[in-house]
Point group: D2
Chain length 381, copies 4
């Protein structure tokens, strides 16, 4: 029976001090389909072992190196079913390549890689392998993002004319990367993060969400990037104009120096008949405003929602679900796809789960934004 | 090493169609300290086995009866460390007694029992056993509830003068219990639910939250109960005045016929210098209003919060945590207490985790509210 | 031509330091139908004259005494068309009686009088005179209060089951009346204010709004009153249960020691199908929540509103109207009624404008609340 | 005594069907310092007379032509003290010139003129005349806009790094100008409106507010304009990047095809230490977010506000003031300045009241935005 055991996850990254590793662990296990059984949590054997203890895994399966993990696990009868990559960006590619070459599916944090050149290599490897590859654009997992996407797909707004997405944080308002802060340090280091600062770290989320919800594609971009904090080597603030493939126009703004903001991801889409708005910090509500009838607030888990939105609700309306639950939706979809794939289904990933295509779009967003900024004008996407 | 294995949970209740069982499973496992390994999920052996498959547990440990589970598990070397009770109310007591008699700690859904007489038996059994007993008053697990509690304890509001708590739902606006709806059916049946309808199901939450946050105790109550939906055998709407042990006055209102409300639990506390307000449907914010300075919004996971509030944050500010995370906080505290207890610590439950005392207060709330309603006046608490 | 001149208002009260006098002046004149031409603004001739200068009226028409004003104005060809009473409560009756006896219509601040005995005299005088008498229950003038009222009248919520109104302020959290604060001083003085403190000052507003919007009548009340601030001679905090004439139950709470609240008047009505909520501090929105469709926000001045709500909109949607505009709606309706009355129409006051009947209900609310508090139980209304 | 009479206003424009004329009348008279006594409300003598009757003015002072009004009024002993211009844009200049030449001060609706060439003429005339000239950038009159301005001036946010202002309406989502809708018709007609559509009508407000609150000046702009509705001759949607004179970067967006929006003017300013946000549709609150302390909501009329904000409050905190009150603040400041000017004070206009300089900035904004759009790139401001 397919459900008789949980899928086994091996994690790369997520050692002591990491933020996103524990998040992946919780998200993966939340719906009871996956268990973390192995990991190369740190490049230090000792720290990897420490993390393994904390995660309650078999100490023998806390590896000091991802290659070692892949090699050892593929030999086990109870070896891992997939690898979760939760490292800084520059490590995404080598781990993904190693896993894919070993025939092991991959669930990766975003952005797909550190550079566009790397992304092309990854894309080729994913395609060649035929293996499931998922990308954790977390916000795609929120029920009301699914609802917004369903609304656009159903044409409820009429033709889309105008889009606006912004993602504002304030936590890099000072030179945090010079203070020993681990999260800030790698994000501000081009060698680890890639060419994009804020645009890579959070701009890619905003970009993905915009295309994901609207169903449109960006065809041209005009971006201005700044490094507001003196000495910072990557952008920390970006404003961009967008042209969409249906003729709509848009804006995308992201910043990590928006002092006072926490994690303000806000998207609005305007059509002929009305508009929708969603805020990540108030995720269980979708605002719908209409030309000629009252504004509506659609609440998560209410019966009137689309099937897509209801499919991802775990608790009754009025019981807030949050960031971890959204993350877990992606893992749930990945788990379901893995099971289908093991049963022989080709292309098992559902359209709702971001994968390599979304990864390539995101990487292109980073390079096009930088190109546009240098040129001080529009570039085709 | 204490962390070397997860604690093992056996669940009673939570079979197919249940709401709260899967919630307990997610909450218990969320922080990686506990795993569900056994269960008597249903009184039907087949349905219990079905649930076990869905939960990915060893089929041999999906029992048809809680007594059978307790007996079998206590003999195993890898037997359960505690029982989670997630049944309708009238089953709480027999399961708890059986577990305690077998020397197994208990984590129970609320209310503690179906009747006050049962509660007295439970209290005696818990005290006699010396075993850890936790009660899942979920809302006590929210970070900003902890913050509100810390604010009151620190006297930030000055002497408390006035409290107001309300818990409004609309899902029982019609006779849902007559339509085959499982959740509605047992809640509306005095034989399963006990003497309290809305006051037992949600009023006890409101009552607990009020005492939990304010640090005050109710000393007298004047309640009016109604069964608004024709034919309903238990109350579905309640308004109550409260007197608190410091002289403050208050109100408590709960309703399950407040059409249009989802899960609107809202608490306000007014002191000499200012007031606080918290809403479960917007749980990551605590509103503080002051006599002579700007209104403040305290956000979960921000550095300025109390140690108690920061202790339960899992993700950075602006990444919403919700109902499941709050629930998981209680399980985390219970797990920590279990480990301490196994290491010989007496009374290991922290003050932040509701236990038998909170359970007794809640049961008394139910009977006092009913007494007061019959008398049409005040009763001492 | 009827519109060829503005109606002439004489004000009693509103001298230097007054809050509500200037508000009445603005409200009366806002829609261009009324002009302030005379006043007995203060019992001091000098201060009355000062106020007259500030109001730009003819110095000869700034009187030191309301009797003098009435006598002088009735002799003028361009004498006042009505008296606006904006004094402390205990002066309402003598001024109103003097005006009515002189055949001059009255627009009075609320409550109607200081005591219920006075109210009976006023009621008799109004009825005997046949003159228009309006009462400024300001909140009845908001567009979205009109919308809420129209919604209830049209049965949009189904049968009403539950009502809840609260009016919380914090400005009397300390003994402000002992500091020389004029507004606080008379409100805290039974000789000027009457038997009701907070219940008279703001409870009457809450009570009126509840009956005004719901279309229901209170038939019984169970109230508890407190004087929270030591030494205060009148109530400053009240909680009440209500029974309505259709069997619905309700609560009314008012407080002037709710530290941190400004002017939080909040009303909710729950019916079989849904509910509505309105907050005075966010007055241009009406929240409608439904059992089975999305929550709605109805915005002032949008075309989908009822005729009653649209009738009082002055500016397009999205241009906020506030307290003064709501106040002005009452004066506009009073002015229209005066013109109709001058043209011979009997009973010209529209049902939307509070008058003597509302005044009597409010006075009864005060005495019944006090009776109930003394009795510690229910009293028929 | 200076206050012994009200200032006399003559209005040009504001005939039957007009929106902004009655608004100016209410605003001008609200604080009791000004009365409307004359007008050339329409180019039709009959319609002007009709408007005069409705405004209750002396029929002899309802003129068919602004020249006639100016000529007649200057001869009267009780002639007008200033002219209020409330016509479509293309009439602003001739009326203003005529008034200034006749020695009569001017209060004009915005934008200052229809074209930049006209604006230069106006500027010269104002400077030559030495007469008071005010411009009704309404939003500058809100108390919390004053508070925001004071906050920036006091450096509370630290150095400003980032600004964002948007002004979204949806009322022109369809071709309303082809349906006989008067307000839409002139706004969509270049001959009456000038070269700017949305950017002139509402973009100028957004632009003004940004400079007004931040204290910064725009030094370069990169704008894209669109006419989204087929057949529309002027822009109805605009996105712009801004560079500020202190090095900050910003965005300005305005749209009249943002379906579902009413009058959504929203401004945010980010500094080193924190940020502020203000929304016109929720005007009595100013949001302050900080790097390291709780978010604050500053409420209108509370004692902790700046003197500038308190100076314009009319009613206690919690009693909402709105659009008309903001408008009236500008008239109050203009009236005070007129009185000072009559008493011989040079340059009596306060810095808080927009005048010819703000008018010139706004006109430059329109032409620079259009230039930039044509060039598809940055232009110096």
């Amino acid at each position: 029976m397919a459900e008789a055991r949980k899928l086994r996850m091996g994690m790369v990254g997520g050692g002591p001090g990491a933020f996103i590793g524990p998040v992946h662990r919780i998200a993966a296990e939340l719906d009871g389909q996956i268990e973390l059984v192995a990991g190369a949590f740190s490049q230090s054997a000792e720290r990897s072992w420490e993390a393994g203890v904390r995660f309650h895994i078999d100490p023998a399966r806390a590896y000091a190196d991802y290659r070692q993990m892949i090699e050892a696990e593929r030999k086990r009868a109870d070896g891992i079913d997939f690898v979760a990559i939760v490292t800084p960006n520059h490590v995404h590619l080598p781990v993904a390549l190693a896993a894919l070459e070993a025939g092991i599916p991959v669930m990766s944090d975003k952005p797909a890689t550190a550079t566009y050149e790397e992304a092309l290599k990854l894309e080729a490897a994913v395609q060649k392998s035929g293996l499931p590859y998922g990308l954790t654009h977390t916000y795609a997992g929120y029920a009301m993002v699914r609802e917004a996407r369903a609304m656009c797909a159903a044409g409820k707004l009429g033709a889309i004319r105008k889009v606006a997405v912004e993602y504002f944080q304030g936590w890099l308002s000072g030179p945090l990367e010079t203070t020993g802060h681990k999260q800030a340090a790698w994000r501000a280091d081009p060698a680890q993060s890639g060419a994009g600062g804020a645009i890579g770290d959070i701009g890619t989320h905003a970009f993905h969400l915009l295309e994901y919800i609207s169903g449109l594609k960006v065809t041209a971009i005009n971006a201005t990037l700044r490094s507001v904090v003196p000495g910072r080597r990557l952008d920390d603030d970006c404003n961009a104009f967008l042209r969409m493939n249906n003729g709509a126009a848009g804006t995308l703004a992201c910043s990590q120096v928006a002092a006072g903001e926490m994690n303000e991801l806000h998207l609005r889409i305007y059509g002929e008949k009305g508009s929708l708005a969603w805020r990540q910090q108030d995720p269980n509500r979708l605002i719908m405003k209409w030309l000629d009838k009252p504004e509506e607030i659609h609440h998560a888990a209410m019966n009137y929602l689309s099937a897509d939105a209801l499919a991802v609700a775990r608790v009754p309306a009025g019981h807030p679900e949050g960031y971890l639950e959204a993350f877990a939706v992606l893992y749930r979809e990945f788990a379901d796809a893995l099971i289908a794939w093991k049963q022989g289904q080709a292309n098992p990933l559902p359209a709702t789960l971001p994968g390599i295509e979304a990864g390539m779009r995101g990487m292109r967003f980073i390079v096009r934004a930088i190109e546009s900024d240098r040129k001080e004008g529009w570039v085709e996407f």
